[in-house]
Symmetry: C2
Subunit: 503 residues, 2 copies
């Protein structure tokens, strides 16, 4: 009996969806594997048409559901194998992914070679790692990772995906490290820079631990899941775009890592640098401005951490051929007034429309960052970038450019209206606002449903320094789902995130 | 609309088995949760009869399988909720388990308070953590954990399970740290000690990363999944037992941790100490001998690591009220000749039967360890324990005691015959055996199917120091499943684990 003969089952698509994890269904008395053999490792290797995936098996006792000679394939396993119904599929007890040796070495405190990191990335991209294995890799790297390992991981991640090329032209980009609610400068910076004439093919992520990523917010205005070809068309027409990176297949390993980082709520320096630079290098960026907010509740809390992260960015970026400019910014409070996709687009449009009530902090920060990028153009005099950026907003040119980009990317497929459930959080005593806790504000906005519900979030009604009296509104919570909205209200009433001091 | 009204679905048991993970099935158009809300966190909170579990949802489009007002419950979710078909079940988007904050703190490098560790343990025992969350906790702890944290984790693990009490009598136990193939001394030590008259209520684990745990090997001879009451009955009759700890509910959190450690193949010092001491303290042990093999391919590789682990054991054991005696042993080579459950029982029985071909190293090590325990008895003169142990083997009393324990525990429910697929690995050149790599031997035996197939494993035919000529047998591989057997043979031919040096 050869393994192949033993391992053959007929593919049967099942009307089931298991999200990201590969799951396959087997009859308890299936012709190939006794279920008790799976209790320990709990993974099977599934092969068809030269593609191998690892999957978690589910055992069924229902003959109507599945025969002993069949393998049930829910989505995404069915899609990833690419077989037709009835086609022969081979299964075998899974050997752990080869890269698990590298993960174990990392857990023991060893540094990984470029080849080991490439193996890990290949297994991630090939969907051969279970969530627990991805988590083990991430957390092992979180405890310590050398700059060389971060570089090698970044390179492996770039090599495992699509790489865009834009010829000889300067290609600029900006990225915010995040952690600051409402910091939606990309939607303002990209149109300014594109209007000026530099290429800015901006790919962005969805939120990891925040209530909105740039992609989540842009999706309120336009479609963001463009393919690489569609993205290229938009950039060649408009000079810029603001799309979600996942569909473009830039650094797909990063998407797998993020799918585990997100529910775990972890985001470490090495992973952050590898994630950002693998995306930017894949997108073909030659110049990159990093907005690095520093504050007591930001991702970067103090000057020492900022220096460490800066050096890591500089080390990796230089070797990836990306000119990098890291700007330390104020991370002590949210930017703008809205937190959550719909509310943040309102701030962005107010700024680009030059409305008198537009949040000034968002305008000032956006033109400062855009100015840094504009100075990549030899025609822009050193120190005059910010002024030029401000002119492009004031003239309405940036707004017109955003409209053009939105039109080219196409209409958003999601319903995105402001959440109708509202609750105003008020001051309990007199004083002035001494501080706003970014982590708490983000947590409340996430509990309210952002970014899953784009219309959920917070509208800040007071800023640091403002005087308040008992009963004065601090912010308004917007929600869509009653149960989540209630969690957010409970959390806000327990701790609002606003520190009031007696004046 | 209240959350309760919104969240109600009717329970429908499904003829599916998802092993350890809680999985529930929902119709795409179910009355409670839009599937897209689950793509990020991918977990739902399921409540019924005051019990709350977290589960991974699977979405179905098949109306015949599940109605919009139903929730499909495979095993083990159905069992853990304890509902009847049609009973009302509440579901809601899951908030991450509370203890995830503690896990994140650990990832950031903080030390955890006793309360935080108790929260983690409560979530583990309540099956509220996904595999990725368990992995994150384990790996975060692997990078650094203070002795106090290990103690607090151990205490929390004991408090979360059953604790046995044996009155005022001395209760002894032994535990081997593992990593040494064939090191099956417990099956010899327990009968010796029980015959002498000390209580030894031995609970043991199944293999984590090795080809056989004590429970796996004992299961070849007798039933091991005894309840706490059944175990007490055996111990009160025989003075000892050798059972699997899982069913006794001693430190159930440890079982959850092991279920993730096992497929990941990780086993760190802090976890090892917490795992072993939580089990032993829960079993009511007052005196414990730890067999700590040290060798280049053992779990403990050098004197420095041994000292660190020893100090950690001593620190935690003293505060748990367990008198501990840690014995450094030879971890440079396998013990006995068999590796794998069936083959190891053959060695054990040969020793207890005083057969001339019995492996002498297994006898010598067992009586040495048993002797240490016998000296807990004030009537045994200091330094005479080993001699007494040897007498109890030579007289056949220990063998009779093992038979009594086997009879009391009941017949094994598993088929356990020596694997009929065999392959002899031979020397490629002349020389003598300079070293045997324990890791490699264990890996080959595991590939062959041990311990899932109790009859799979290796029979060692040469020992360190033996002279060999080309073609001389080094060991025989036994297998049950052809595909796994082939993996083992391939691995052994690639690297046998035997280092030959020219004589």
């Amino acid at each position: 009996m050869t393994e192949t003969a033993a391992g053959l089952l007929k593919a049967r698509p099942l009307p089931l969806d298991t999200f990201r994890e590969n799951v396959v269904m087997l009859a308890r008395d299936n012709a190939v594997l006794r279920p008790e053999r799976l209790a320990g490792a709990r993974r099977v290797e599934v092969k068809a048409r030269g593609i191998t995936i690892l999957a978690s098996p589910v055992i069924t006792d229902d003959r109507a559901l599945l025969g002993a000679d069949e393998i049930g394939l829910p989505q995404p396993a069915y899609h990833r194998l690419g077989v037709a119904p009835g086609e022969r599929v081979t299964i075998a007890p899974a050997r752990p992914p080869k890269s698990l040796d590298a993960v174990r070495a990392k857990i023991r405190g060893e540094t990984l070679t470029p080849q080991m990191l490439a193996e890990v990335v290949a297994d991630l991209v090939g969907h051969r790692c279970s969530d627990m294995e991805v988590a083990a890799f991430l957390i092992a790297c979180a405890s310590f990772m050398t700059a060389e390992e971060t570089l090698d991981l970044t390179r492996a991640m770039v090599d495992a995906g699509t790489r865009l090329s834009w010829g000889e032209r300067a290609v600029v980009d900006k990225h915010s490290i995040g952690g600051i609610p409402g910091n939606r400068t990309s939607l303002i910076v990209a149109p300014i820079v594109a209007t000026h004439g530099l290429l800015i093919p901006k790919t962005s992520s969805r939120a990891i631990t925040s209530p909105a990523g740039t992609a989540d917010t842009m999706e309120v205005l336009a479609r963001v899941d463009l393919s690489a070809d569609e993205m290229r068309h938009v950039v060649e027409t408009c000079g810029g775009c603001i799309v979600w990176g996942g569909r473009v297949n830039l650094s797909p390993a990063d998407d797998v890592l993020i799918s585990v980082e997100r529910p775990l709520g972890v985001d470490t320096a090495g992973q952050m640098v590898a994630s950002i630079l693998s995306k930017k290098a894949s997108a073909g960026s030659s110049h990159l401005v990093i907005d690095m907010p520093i504050g007591p509740s930001a991702k970067i809390r103090d000057a020492a951490s900022a220096l460490r992260v800066r050096k890591l960015f500089e080390f990796v970026a230089a070797r990836m051929g990306v000119a990098i400019d890291i700007v330390a910014t104020d991370g002590s409070r949210p930017v703008g007034r809205g937190v959550g996709p719909v509310l943040e687009t309102r701030d962005v449009l107010a700024v680009l429309d030059n409305r008198p009530d537009a949040p000034r902090d968002l305008l000032d920060k956006s033109v400062m960052l855009a100015g840094r990028l504009l100075e990549v153009d030899p025609a822009v005099q050193g120190g005059r970038g910010e002024e030029r950026a401000r002119e492009l907003v004031a003239s309405g040119a940036a707004r017109a450019k955003l409209d053009q980009i939105i039109a080219m990317q196409g209409p958003s497929p999601i319903r995105a209206e402001l959440g109708e459930l509202t609750h105003v959080v008020t001051a309990q005593r007199s004083g002035h606002v001494a501080a706003i806790d970014c982590l708490r504000i983000a947590a409340v906005a996430r509990l309210a449903g952002a970014p899953t519900d784009p219309g959920a979030g917070l509208l800040l009604l007071r800023d640091v320094g403002d005087a308040v009296r008992p009963g004065d509104p601090l912010y308004r919570i917007h929600g869509v789902e009653p149960s989540e909205f209630r969690f957010a209200v409970e959390a806000a009433e327990e701790a609002s995130g606003f520190a009031l001091e007696t004046s």
